[in-house]
């Protein structure tokens, strides 16, 4: 489902015209307004899930939207750990969602999502 944009605002007025850019999210083309964050562009296109929790695999999206919480970690051009809420969308950018990582040094029960002792 797409949530879309706030085209008209009673106080802030109409959404200013900007150039459109197109980036890839997990291989899928996403249209964005030039100068907007990857998190905003994805949400405008109805995408909330930005990564899977590295150990548990549960879906995660933005939380604070201003760079404080690190919940929105994505991979840009092969480099992991960028914050989607602080990173700008630009033409041709290759963006990937965060993935479940192997946790070979964790005791098995942690991988099953049990409580930490």
């Amino acid at each position: 489902m797409s949530y879309g944009r706030i085209e008209n605002h009673p106080i802030l007025g109409p959404l200013p015209e900007t150039r459109r850019v197109c980036f890839l999210f997990d291989g899928r083309p996403i249209e964005a307004r030039e100068g907007e964050s990857i998190a905003a562009a994805l949400l405008a296109n109805g995408i909330r899930t930005l990564r899977a929790h590295e150990e548990q695999g549960t879906p995660r999206g933005i939380y604070c939207n201003i760079g404080h919480c690190m919940e929105c970690r994505i991979t840009i051009e092969g480099v992991s750990g960028f914050r989607a809420c602080l990173s700008l969308a630009s033409d041709g950018l290759d963006v990937c969602s965060g993935i479940v990582l192997p946790t070979p040094f964790q005791p098995a029960k942690l991988r099953e999502g049990d409580a930490y002792e």
Partner: protein
């Protein structure tokens, strides 16, 4: 890299920008660093109507500050995250960032505030966000956060942002309290929350004000107010403010599908058998603000604990100097207050730094006193008071008194 900087400001919010402007006007070479893609800090998302009808439009206010900064040759760089800073002997400070190191004789940390978490089951589902995230999405990015939301948490910030979401045409099904747990003790106590709501009833539409005005008197009246508060809530901005209901958990598979809520007793404890599900596709959690002060800790600055100001704040005096030579703080890092106070504090910091750097055009002590006086005035007149005891706390901290003159 730029050589011979007099001042590096960390944070291009209202405090950092106004400090940069004030010190650059005295002839200092100033660099402002901010990790957000746009300068303006949390000012950008703000949109309030003042009692005289004027709309405080944060985007416009920020543009004005940025324009003044560039007119005074301040270099503002966005997309730069500061990760550490270190005092280098008597010569100044070295700053580490994702774009390499910078150094300057003086550093101002103006990193603002962050939102406290208010954890409850299901809060990691995509579609759950802090109330400030929704503010920025709505007013700055102009992206709809969802079709129907629930707000968990009632405080001055969440009330302000609820009105902003409604203004943008975002539907809210309810505003409820967070569940009672050791992390949400006061925020889940309906009596405490009602008392704090009544303090800023002047900001709210008439319904709450009319309800509240008759109960402001004494604590007995206030206890009665809670009993008389309608279970289904009072409608504000066409959204029920449900002071006698709390969220139990957020439900959903791959994203938010709804919030399970329950009626609560006067202590905030859920009443068995009253649970119901509110359908929603997004949830905003409002846990309040605390000063974002890690960098001051990394720098080695001592701290003071002041709950009225939002928690631990770097030790500083009224002139915004810290006990460390060449290190200054201004804005919400010194305590959670509104943007006009942050701007006034930034001016104080900018003047103090100019005085300490001994530039030929150095401001006078009288100018500094005037700027400090303006902070007090802004504090007194601020539309949004994050805590009733801010002034008393500041006076204790600075050894000052109430006189504003």
């Amino acid at each position: 890299m730029i050589d011979r900087l007099d001042l590096i400001v960390i944070g291009a919010g209202p405090a950092g920008l106004s400090a940069a402007i004030a010190s650059a006007r005295c002839g200092l070479r100033v660099l402002v660093l901010d990790e957000f893609p746009r300068p303006g800090g949390r000012l950008l998302g703000q949109l309030h109507q003042e009692p005289d009808g004027f709309w405080w439009n944060g985007i416009k206010e920020a543009q004005q500050l940025v324009r003044q900064a560039s007119e005074n040759s301040v270099d503002i760089r966005t997309g730069v995250s500061v990760t550490a800073l270190e005092q280098i002997g008597q010569t100044g400070w070295k700053i580490w960032t994702n774009r390499g190191p910078f150094s300057a004789k003086h550093v101002l940390i103006a990193t603002g505030a962050a939102e406290s978490a208010c954890p409850l089951p299901g809060w990691t589902l995509p579609g759950v966000m802090s109330i400030g995230a929704a503010q920025v999405m709505t007013n700055v990015q102009r992206v709809r956060v969802g079709n129907r939301g629930v707000v968990v948490g009632m405080n001055v910030l969440s009330m302000a942002i609820v009105s902003e979401l409604r203004l943008a045409g975002i539907e809210l099904a309810a505003i409820v309290l967070p569940p009672k747990n050791p992390l949400n003790v006061r925020a889940s106590d309906p009596g405490d929350v009602l008392r704090s709501l009544l303090r800023f009833a002047h900001l709210a539409p008439n319904a709450l004000f009319r309800f509240g005005a008759s109960f402001l008197g004494n604590s007995l009246m206030q206890r009665m107010a809670l009993k008389l508060y309608p279970r289904r809530g009072i409608r504000m901005w066409n959204t029920p403010l449900q002071l006698r209901r709390s969220a139990v958990e957020i439900v959903g598979g791959s994203c938010v599908e709804g919030v399970r809520i329950a009626d609560i007793d006067s202590e905030g404890v859920p009443i068995p058998g009253t649970e119901r599900l509110i359908e929603a596709d997004f949830v905003c959690i409002a846990g309040g603000l605390y000063p974002l002060a890690e960098l001051a800790a990394v720098a080695g600055c001592p701290f003071r604990y002041a709950p009225e100001l939002g928690g631990h704040v770097p030790a500083h005096d009224e002139s915004m100097r810290t006990p460390l030579q060449g290190l200054y703080v201004a804005g919400n890092i010194t305590g959670v207050e509104s943007a006009k106070v942050a701007i006034a504090q930034g001016q104080v910091a900018g003047l103090s730094i100019a005085i300490d750097s001994g530039v030929p055009d150095s401001p006078t002590e009288t100018e500094l006193q005037t700027a400090m006086h303006r902070v007090k005035q802004m504090r007194r007149d601020a539309l949004i008071q994050f805590d009733p005891d801010i002034t008393a706390c500041r006076n204790r901290m600075y050894g000052t008194n109430d006189a504003i003159g």
